[in-house]
Amino acid sequence: MAGLSSSLYNLFFRKNTVMLGTVFASAFAIQMAFDSGSEKIWDGINKGRQWKDIKHRYVQAAEEE
């Protein structure tokens, strides 16, 4: 465990520039994960209610004409 955390330290936090890069990259990744995760939960709760759930009926109808 100690070896892992010290190598993590050496890898990401030793140099300030590297740490800054780590912070930005992980902020980006975490936001993506959080947004898509919460979107999934939200769409699950509101299944069948939103426009994206019923859109196919009308888009297809328009194409057939």
């Binding site: 959080f34 947004d35 919460s38 979107e39 939200w42 709760i45 509101n46 209610r49 939103q50 426009w51 759930d53 019923i54 859109k55 009308y58 888009v59 328009a62």
Partner: protein
């Protein structure tokens, strides 16, 4: 007062006539007089206490009578019947609008309400992705004509509508609307759900609340219709929704209450089109905010640990040294960790 002065005079006399009889007499006199005094004062105390209590209760009652009651400027009929609270699905904290219902509601608005009520704040573009596809909205916009910008000769011409145009109003202006409706102005419905107490419940109750005929004794003015939910009970709008008035494209049976429910939900959307996103964003904010709050609590406890767990020991000079390791009397900070 009288009894007390008697007592004093007896005492003054006492030393002069030093005999047992007078002493006994004075003692018995003082005893009897103090009993009378006690009786009188206890009566007074009771009266005073009762009076004060009665006054306190009375003044509270008077104050409540003056300021504590509801003050109604209007009679219940003028106020209008309070609408029933219906279990709207879309007003729950975690629910979006039912967009299929919005589509039906917009159909009801267009086929029924739009002949009298404007919906000025809704452009065609906001229907896209909520109620209809781009192509449907474009086709709908092109059904109506709008003024162009003045051309080179300053003439204003007509052009077909675009997505950026707003829904057309049924009347040129409010005066024309009044003239066509017996002097009553059909209000714009864009923000109607926000503009009335009871919101969705009120509008649904209003649309479905017309009785077959007004109850006995109700006075309905010429040209007005009886509706108990409308403040004043006389409304210039007659009942507009009847079973099977519209034909829903998705096959939903168009009962009066179904249409009223759909058009009400649609009007809620038109008043608050941001609701879906607002709720979703609110949940996200609470999730992130919850994590940040927990973190800040942890950081606070972390930073305060040394302060919260330290122990200050005072060893008095010359006294028994409680802490033998300290060479001289001092205030010592001891960290327990």
């Amino acid at each position: 007062m009288l009894a007390r002065s008697c007592l004093r005079s007896t005492r003054l006399v006492g030393p002069v006539a030093r005999n047992a009889a007078s002493k006994t007499a004075s003692r018995s006199a003082s005893t009897s007089s103090s009993t009378a005094e006690e009786a009188a004062s206890s009566w007074k105390t009771t009266a005073l206490g009762s009076g004060a209590t009665a006054f306190a209760i009375g003044s509270v009652a008077w104050y409540y009578h003056l300021y504590g009651q509801n003050v109604d400027a209007m009679t219940p009929a003028e106020e209008g019947l309070h609408p029933t609270a219906y279990p709207w699905e879309h007003t729950k904290w975690s629910k979006t609008f039912d967009h299929q219902a919005l589509r039906r509601g917009f159909q009801v608005y267009r086929e029924v309400c739009a002949s009298c009520h404007s919906l000025k704040r809704i452009p065609y573009r906001s229907l896209v992705g909520n109620i209809m596809t781009v192509d449907e909205a474009k086709a709908l916009a092109e059904e109506n004509e709008y003024d162009t910008e003045p051309n080179n000769e300053g003439e204003i011409e007509k052009r077909p509508g675009k997505l950026s145009d707003y829904l057309p109003s049924p009347y040129k202006n409010d005066e024309a609307a009044r003239a066509a409706n017996n002097g009553a102005l059909p209000p714009d419905l864009s923000l109607m759900v926000k503009a009335r107490h009871g919101g969705c419940d009120y509008i649904f109750s209003l649309l479905t609340g017309y009785p077959e005929e007004p109850p006995a004794g109700a006075v309905v003015q010429e040209g007005l219709n009886f509706n108990p939910y409308f403040p004043g009970t006389g409304i210039a709008m007659a009942r507009v929704l009847y079973d099977d008035l519209v034909e829903y494209e998705d096959g939903t049976p168009a009962t009066t209450s179904q249409m009223a429910k759909d058009v009400t939900e649609f009007l809620h959307w038109s008043a608050e089109p941001e609701m879906d996103d607002r709720k979703k964003m609110g949940w996200k904010v609470m999730a992130i905010g919850g994590v940040l709050f927990a973190l800040s609590v942890w950081v606070k406890r972390y930073k305060w640990t040394p302060l919260k767990t330290r122990k200050i020991i005072y060893t008095p000079p010359g006294g028994p040294a409680k802490n033998p390791s300290s060479p001289r009397p001092s205030v010592k900070m001891n960290e327990r960790q």
